[in-house]
């Protein structure tokens, strides 16, 4: 995501805005503070000690007669430089090494981890104090050493995050497509580790400030410098004589540390969160003008005049589905075909109640088995209705098998648990059913796969598992979102066969979302063509394929049929 966009989002977040203001102000003071101070921050004045707020001294004087305001302003620079030193040192040492170790593994990881362990095992206090004894009490030196000591933290965080995604498909894809390792690391992997790193940087900077004051408290700091830590300690030492001294540095430290953390969170959110803009009001203008008739309940699934929109930053509503109507009956397969962005997946998700939280059902009615899921009266998906239907009556087969299985649980667990919950089976009963289901979907070694983890099986097998899972509770309606797109051609055919068999066995209605007319031809009874959220045409598959009424449909067909005539293709698919 572009940095500029991220910054905009950051500033929209009230906490982010607050933290940016505070941190910006602090940085400003760090740079220009010396110009704004009214007195020399170090000049004592024995005649004016511990004075209160006055016109001469905006924040009073401290126990030595120095102007508190000036010290606070000037001390900002020392404090900030120290914090910066720690963070920079730790990042420069920890992040690149963590990236390399996590990505390449083996020897590099072994060496890197060993060094990190060594640095982490050093008792920080002892090292800090020993170095201080040998190299002098400069606070900058102490912060540099501290940065080195906590670099392993960054190393470990980076390494963990990288290792988590090292084997992801998109990385493999990038490798296969010939991207250099550096490119892969910087482009893809760095973006994954951004989030924990940003937060850690913010926190570490805060800790650096806190450490400064801690060292001063122990008498191990650098009292000759003006820093918030020195001021805090001064205030603490004299807290029973002049209780107000401690307030100003405490506020400065607290505000800055708080802002750092809040900034870290907000920045991470701005970068990572998918763009979700919520809007309370429902724009009247878009509510369907004509009243939508009640559904008779004769269809398994009936959708009328469905319109889905997403609120935009400028207050408008972007409609991704406009005025779509269709129905699905038991035992029939309806295909929704279109290019990406046509709104077909959105339609499917709305039936499942799995739209993102900021999506708005602008209008429409969805009825399932006579039960209303979405009605113009409520204007949104009925959560309670969905809850009892999902998994049991309406099931979902996702498109990309590997990312739709939880990598931390066995296949068996992911099959068995929903059955236990939804069907009320016992663990052993569910396991037996799962094993038989796995055989049904064509897995030869069900026991072994049952005990395996998702990363231990192939994509084709994973898709079969997802199919098995979807039909495990014998749903009435199956919504399949491009179930074969991610598979090899040979497996595609098998999976399609599987779906066909399951459908006839369980008498399910299937809503099949796809961009592939071949699949439509193979499996579907009726088809609905969508473009830009609107219905282009719908009807019987044979008719649409043979003689599409709309030009767009023809274009779609053409894009699939290179050097073939429609009839030929149909024949081939049917026979395969």
């Amino acid at each position: 995501m572009k940095l500029k966009v991220a910054m905009q989002r950051l500033l929209k977040n009230p906490l982010g805005l607050f933290s940016v203001i505070v941190i910006g102000f602090v940085i400003f003071l760090a740079i220009f503070g010396n110009l704004l101070s009214r007195y020399n921050a170090n000049t004592p004045d024995i005649l004016h000690i511990s004075q209160g707020i006055s016109a001469k001294h905006w924040l009073g004087t401290d126990s030595v007669g120095r102007d508190v305001y000036s010290r606070l302003i000037v001390g900002t620079r020392t404090t900030m430089i120290a914090a910066l030193l720690v963070s920079l040192t730790a990042i420069v040492i920890g992040v690149p090494s963590g990236l390399l170790a996590g990505y390449y593994g083996k020897k590099i990881d072994a060496v890197g981890s060993w060094i990190a362990n060594m640095l982490m095992s050093l008792p920080a206090m002892i090292v800090l104090l020993s170095v201080r004894a040998t190299l002098g009490s400069s606070i900058y030196m102490s912060m540099l050493v501290f940065g080195i000591i906590i670099a392993p933290g960054f190393f470990r965080l980076t390494r963990t995050a990288v290792m988590g995604v090292r084997n992801e498909l998109y990385v493999d894809a990038a490798r296969v497509s010939g991207l250099s390792d550096t490119r892969i690391i910087v482009r893809h992997i760095l973006s994954v580790v951004r989030a924990p790193l940003i937060i850690q940087i913010a926190i570490v900077s805060g800790i650096a400030i806190s450490l400064q004051s801690g060292l001063e408290f122990l008498g191990l700091g650098d009292p000759k410098m003006v820093s918030w830590g020195v001021m805090l300690n001064d205030g603490f030492r004299n807290i029973y004589i002049d209780p107000t001294l401690i307030i100003w540095p405490a506020i400065a430290i607290a505000l800055t540390m708080a802002s750092l953390v809040l900034f870290g969170n907000a920045f991470r959110d701005a970068l990572e969160d998918s763009k979700k803009i919520f809007s309370k009001a429902k724009p009247d203008a878009l509510v369907a003008k004509t009243p939508i008739l009640q559904h008779s309940g004769e269809h398994l699934l009936e959708v009328s005049n469905l319109a889905i929109g997403y609120p935009q930053a400028n207050g408008e509503l972007r409609q991704v589905v406009r005025n779509v109507s269709f129905h699905v009956d038991r035992g029939e397969v309806l295909g929704i075909v279109g290019e990406s962005g046509s709104g077909k997946t959105q339609t499917a998700f709305s039936i499942l109640g799995l739209l993102p939280s900021n999506a708005q059902i602008v209008s429409g009615r969805i009825t399932f088995s006579g039960e209303s899921l979405v009605s113009p009266e409520t204007g949104k998906i009925s959560d309670s209705a969905m809850h009892s239907l999902r998994g049991k009556k309406i099931a979902y087969i996702p498109q990309e098998p590997m990312s739709n299985l939880d990598p931390n649980f066995t296949i068996g667990h992911q099959l068995v648990r929903p059955m236990m919950k939804v069907l009320g089976l016992s663990k052993s009963g569910a396991k037996a059913k799962a094993l038989s289901l796995m055989q049904t979907v064509g897995i030869n070694n069900p026991e072994r796969v049952f005990a395996s983890y998702p990363h231990e099986i192939s994509g084709g097998m994973a898709q079969r598992i997802l199919i098995a899972g979807a039909v495990s509770c014998e749903p009435d309606l199956l919504i399949a979102d491009e179930p074969t797109t991610a598979l090899d051609v040979t497996i595609q055919a098998e999976v399609l066969d599987l779906l066909r068999n399951l459908q006839s066995e369980l008498k399910m209605g299937i809503l099949l979302v796809t961009h592939n007319f071949g699949v439509v031809a193979d499996l579907c009874d009726r088809v609905l063509v969508m473009q830009n959220g609107e219905m282009v045409e719908s009807g019987n598959v044979r008719e649409i394929l043979k003689s599409p009424a709309q030009g767009y449909t023809q274009e779609l067909l053409n894009s699939m049929l290179v050097d073939r005539t429609p009839l030929e293709y149909l024949t081939q698919a049917k026979g395969a």
Partner: protein, 313 residues
């Protein structure tokens, strides 16, 4: 598994050796004034010479180091120069104090950080903002200030907890609990934030993943999905952060130990280092390294148990 442990053991031992050697030579330069520091201003030159001989300070560096190493390998870490007590018994006395504080504080911090971070990530909205702000306050207020505020209100104004001191569990479990409450509260308040923010971030990331949607479509309750599946995936980040904090706390509790007069390791380490008490420093370093090695091992094992993909390495 055995090979993994064996590799770790070898790596750990090499670590121990390198660190102890480096430390010994690092602290050498500051140990020249030991004798007079121990004896005080009234010491005569003869006394100082005698003390130097007693402590072996008149021998060359490498001799002293080898001497130490030889004894250390048999478990004899010598006598603390300043405290006149065997290093092992000194550490044995102090380590439980710090470990108790740190283990309980980390456990509580882990619990609260998970609850708060997950709440903030899942609920979002103003709950998220409240959690962020609330969590940040404990982090932002300097530790010793927090401690004295707690003492002021809960130990002095209202005598609910003791203001100072450590009571052994064996002596009186009830008073032991009372004596550690305020220190642990101070520690937890200071550390829960960073873990909570990391967990919040990790949970938010995991919630966006496809398998969460698919599991929802299977009919699992939101609660089960979050508690079982989302947290599992978010765990490695949380574990890493918490283990880092644990290690940092081993020495970092010194301020809390000072204020509450708890005889712990942090205090011991700082005093030993500032007075250049070589045997004691070396003993502390060795034990700290061992603890860190164990903690890292435990975290890696936990990570492997929770996330099978990581096990592949």
């Amino acid at each position: 598994m055995l090979r993994f442990l064996a590799k770790r053991l070898v790596s750990g031992l090499s670590l121990l050796f390198v660190i102890s050697t480096a430390t010994y030579f690092l602290i050498y330069s500051s140990s020249s004034n030991i004798a007079i520091n121990i004896l005080g201003e009234g010491a005569t030159p003869d006394q100082i010479k005698l003390k130097d001989a007693q402590l072996g300070l008149n021998q060359p560096l490498t001799t002293r180091y080898l001497h130490w190493l030889q004894h250390a390998l048999t478990g004899n870490f010598g006598i603390s120069w300043i405290n006149n007590d065997s290093v092992v018994s000194e550490i044995a006395r102090r380590l439980p104090v710090t470990l108790t504080l740190v283990l309980i504080a980390i456990a509580l911090a882990a619990l609260f950080a998970t609850i708060l971070g997950t709440l903030a990530a899942v609920r979002g909205g103003w709950i998220d903002k409240c959690v962020q702000i609330g969590g940040v306050l404990g982090f932002a207020i300097p530790g010793f200030l927090l401690a004295i505020l707690l003492i002021e209100f809960l130990a002095i104004k209202h005598h609910i907890f003791p203001a100072t001191g450590w009571v052994k569990f064996g002596d009186s479990p009830y008073n032991w609990l009372r004596s550690i409450t305020l220190p642990i509260v101070s520690l937890v308040l200071a550390t829960v934030t960073s873990a909570a923010q990391q967990i919040r971030s990790a949970v938010k990331t995991v919630l966006e993943r496809d398998f969460v949607r698919t599991l929802t479509s299977r009919g699992l309750s939101r609660r089960e999905i979050i508690l079982r599946h989302v947290l599992r995936s978010a765990a490695p980040t949380g574990l890493t952060v918490l283990s880092l904090q644990f290690i940092g706390m081993l020495g970092g509790t010194v301020i809390i130990e000072h204020i509450f007069a708890l005889p712990g390791m942090g205090d011991l380490a700082v005093n030993a280092t500032t007075s250049s008490d070589t045997p004691l420093i070396m003993g502390i370093v060795v034990f700290t390294v061992i603890i860190v090695i164990i903690v890292n091992l435990v975290v890696d094992l936990l990570n492997g148990w929770l996330n099978p993909k990581v096990r592949v390495q």
